[in-house]
Symmetry: C2
Subunit: 193 residues, 2 copies
């Protein structure tokens, strides 16, 4: 297996395309972020990295809370738009026709059209260079009722968006189910000599 | 859009299924991690969250370096296996028949069969509760030569694995391309009144 060294770069698969929400001066704004992931199970936490100049970061610092909204594939235009323009110059909520709602944290705006919404409280902020790494504790999770099956989130109904870097920067849908997790690996465990 | 509150939990789409590599007492080991994401662009950094008792974490602390290996869909059994068993009891490299190679950091073992391999140096460690959040600087990226097109990583050739939580815990392949990023959103920008 011949390898080629490409130099240091942010190359991982898959990446998300989350819509990060914050109130700035009392008005909701959302920006797209692919630099994000889960950071802890108990208590549940996640990270999101934002450039220092981001308008959304101003709101996160103002209120100490933010939201993470998972767009479905049919929101691909809106998700891309919110990564291109700044809320300092455009009212993205109006342009995208987002229906905004608030939960228990009161000042973390969420997008009703996104099937999954997480309310987060800031726990840590780390200045890493070009980006500020925000570590947030997940205080509540909201899921659209029509995306649940027997009360649990259903991937096929959620139909989440995937972001992808490489030769091209593209959005993709989820593909075929390959296997059950914490299960298919047992075949190797059983097969070993 | 009626919403249902599910309580605080680690629900995000998509999630990765990375194989995190470290040498422990001079021997390579790999564990599966879905709690991971990019943390900074310049310098390029990522996070990975590991439970305190993890054997791999011992190696990361020992050497101050680790690797992130992106498995392709055809490594789904191996990826799942490396999340089920501990390297303290089993030689996962032998069982999975991983071909291990080292790069510029010398003590961050990588899996040749994985199409994308990142060598990382530990920059920060944050104890968040159940998990230790490791922030690593990406020092080098290796890609299998047969996964490049015109010198750039090609998604179709890489064919990465996606992890998914919810009603079921499953692995998926990438699906259809929906749109070009930093482009499709311009249609909204143009269309607004």
């Amino acid at each position: 297996m011949k390898k080629v060294a490409l130099g240091p770069r942010t190359l991982l698969y898959p990446m998300p395309a989350f819509l990060i929400g914050a109130d700035i001066a009392g008005r909701p704004n959302f920006m797209t972020a692919a630099w994000s992931g889960i950071a802890c199970s108990s208590p549940p936490m996640l990270t999101v990295a934002l450039q220092h100049h981001r308008y959304t970061l101003k709101g996160i610092k103002e209120n100490g809370v933010f939201s993470v909204n998972v767009p479905s594939a049919d929101l691909v235009k809106e998700a891309d738009y919110c990564g291109i323009v700044s809320g300092e110059r455009e009212d993205k909520v109006a342009v995208c026709k987002f229906e905004v709602f608030y939960g228990s944290l009161k000042t973390a705006p969420m997008i009703a059209q996104c099937p999954v919404n997480l309310e987060c409280e800031v726990m840590h902020m780390l200045d890493l260079g070009s980006h500020e790494l925000v570590v947030g504790q997940i205080e509540e999770v909201h899921v659209s009722e029509d995306c649940l099956t027997d009360g649990e989130p259903d991937l096929l109904k959620i139909n989440p968006l995937i972001y992808c870097t490489g030769a091209e920067k593209t959005y993709h849908a989820f593909g075929e189910k390959l296997a059950q997790a914490f299960s298919v690996g047992m075949e190797i465990k059983k097969a070993k000599p």
